[in-house]
Symmetry: C2
Subunit: 316 residues, 2 copies
């Protein structure tokens, strides 16, 4: 197992910045308003919807989920920069962006700042933000249907993984717990359960989707696939624990969203439950555990290791 | 072509009520809260989410889209009461219900009554209504992934049809036009374009999904498939024209939603554009045209004819 020192000293071998740019370019491609053949004035409303969708997705974001699709794909020998892999990375980012746009709305977290920009309902209006989230969710599934060079049976497994992670058994369920968490002192198992649904499920799906690209439907019987799944579960929880730490230590400018919000909102967090030091230790343990899960994988998994390292040491 | 008299005199041969009950039963099956293995208190939030989803979907509704899936399937020789066909009917109804739940929210139409019951954000709260809509959309796509006895390539075509109809190129796009239509006097081509996206796209997809079940991916080269598509386009627009007529003539009790709302909201409607008489004629022409599109289909298409008849003569 890699020691914390190894993790600190690790030099990145994968070009994560290049990958991130490739995701952003591909997202911009998919979010170009369709060519509107007719010149009806109502088409302005359609263009405005596409602009608002682009506002919600483009211009910032760590692209952790998209990068995880790519790194997972590479770990099983699938070309991460292929069009099909980038499209699946875009699908994951669309689901994530949809959840942020809806999460930021007044009836949920009521946030005005996201990725350093006004949130969609502030830049546009609430009705548009609602439709933007709805349409971004759909776009993710449309990308699966339209993707080239992926076999139909693999697409169905990808659809299964992503839909399960997104719906009431995944992200939406986690959010349902979250809206009742304010001023409720959840205990650690419940906080972990909430995060495993709210954030963890989609991070797990990202890793699954990438691995499915390379392994196909037989992935479900592969030990490499289960290693990558276990890695993603640890990574997902660690990601959220670090989020709680950053919420108390980082500035609003660094985060690109309102800092200290969870603490102020009297939401239970790991920091409140465990204290600052113990939370840091918990994050370290999770990240080390994540690394150990893919110990048996060859050098093609280095991008997964680099990504875990980058997410562990992020400042926002 | 059938004359209006024939349409009036038509006796139903398909058991649409029985079909509707079968859809409702299958929806209830899919909306049972998952068996929650763990006994964490936060599971109450999950149960509440599933209850709210059931509230948004069950207990009322014409099930026009689900019935159209079944009638279309039967027209091409696929068993409408098979589990797979019912699951696809449920998928269409989940998309429709999600759009109603979000449409009723305060930032959109701000409606308090739907299918004779309080809307989801009234019975629960706005944040829950937002999540219910999100999770119902996902459930539709999950049902495609999980359905048994449908080939993977057929599933991908179904996914393509449904995702295109639901997103910014379909329903969400139509709604984006709709939110700017208040106090704008759209002309008839624009009103038709809006409805073809907002309502028509999903009605078209319902017919496509049913036909795809029987024809498989080769449907796209079949003349029967294009006949059914043309039928559904006429039916969809006729459905909306009749909606405008009912909005001025039916009572709130009969509609199960607030009557006269579109007229009062100064939204452009066909009745305002064309007048009452000409709108009735337009609706009749569309329904006759719909019938003529499937003239060449054999008796297995009688359920499609019955459904068109029932929707043409509906009182709500």
């Amino acid at each position: 197992m890699a020691s914390p020192h190894d993790l600190q000293a690790r030099r990145e071998t994968a070009d994560l910045n290049g990958w991130r740019q490739a995701i952003d370019q591909r997202l911009a491609h998919h979010l170009k308003p369709q060519e509107l053949g007719k010149t009806l004035p109502c088409n302005q409303s359609l263009s405005r919807l596409w602009q608002a969708m682009a506002h919600g997705v483009l211009g910032g974001g760590k692209r952790a989920r998209g990068l995880l699709v790519m790194a997972s794909a590479q770990a099983v020998g699938y070309e991460p920069l292929s069009e099909s892999c980038l499209d699946m990375a875009c699908a994951l980012e669309c689901i994530h962006a949809f959840s942020l746009v809806h999460d930021d709305m007044p009836c949920m977290d009521d946030d005005e700042l996201r990725r350093g920009k006004p949130t969609v309902h502030v830049a546009y209006d609430e009705a548009t933000a609602l439709l933007v989230g709805d349409a971004l969710q759909t776009l993710a599934f449309e990308l699966i249907a339209q993707a080239k060079d992926i076999g139909d049976s693999t697409k169905i497994e990808i659809l299964r993984s992503l839909s399960r992670a997104t719906g009431a058994r995944g992200m939406a369920g986690g959010q349902a717990i979250d809206i009742h968490r304010v001023a409720q002192m959840l205990h650690q198992p419940e906080l972990e359960e909430m995060h495993s649904l709210k954030t963890g499920a989609l991070i797990l799906a990202s890793a699954e989707v990438g691995a499915l690209l390379g392994l196909g439907p037989s992935a479900l019987r592969s030990s490499v696939y289960s290693s990558i799944q276990s890695f993603a579960r640890d990574l997902g929880l660690g990601f959220q624990v670090l989020d709680d730490l950053l919420d108390v230590s980082a500035s609003t400018q660094a985060l690109g969203k309102t800092a200290g919000k969870d603490a102020q909102a009297e939401k239970p967090t790991f920091v409140k439950l465990l204290g600052l030091e113990e939370t840091k230790n918990f994050a370290d343990r999770l990240h080390q555990s994540a690394f150990s899960r893919i110990d048996g994988l060859d050098d093609r998994a280095n991008a997964l290791r680099d990504l875990a390292h980058a997410l562990t040491h992020r400042q926002h």
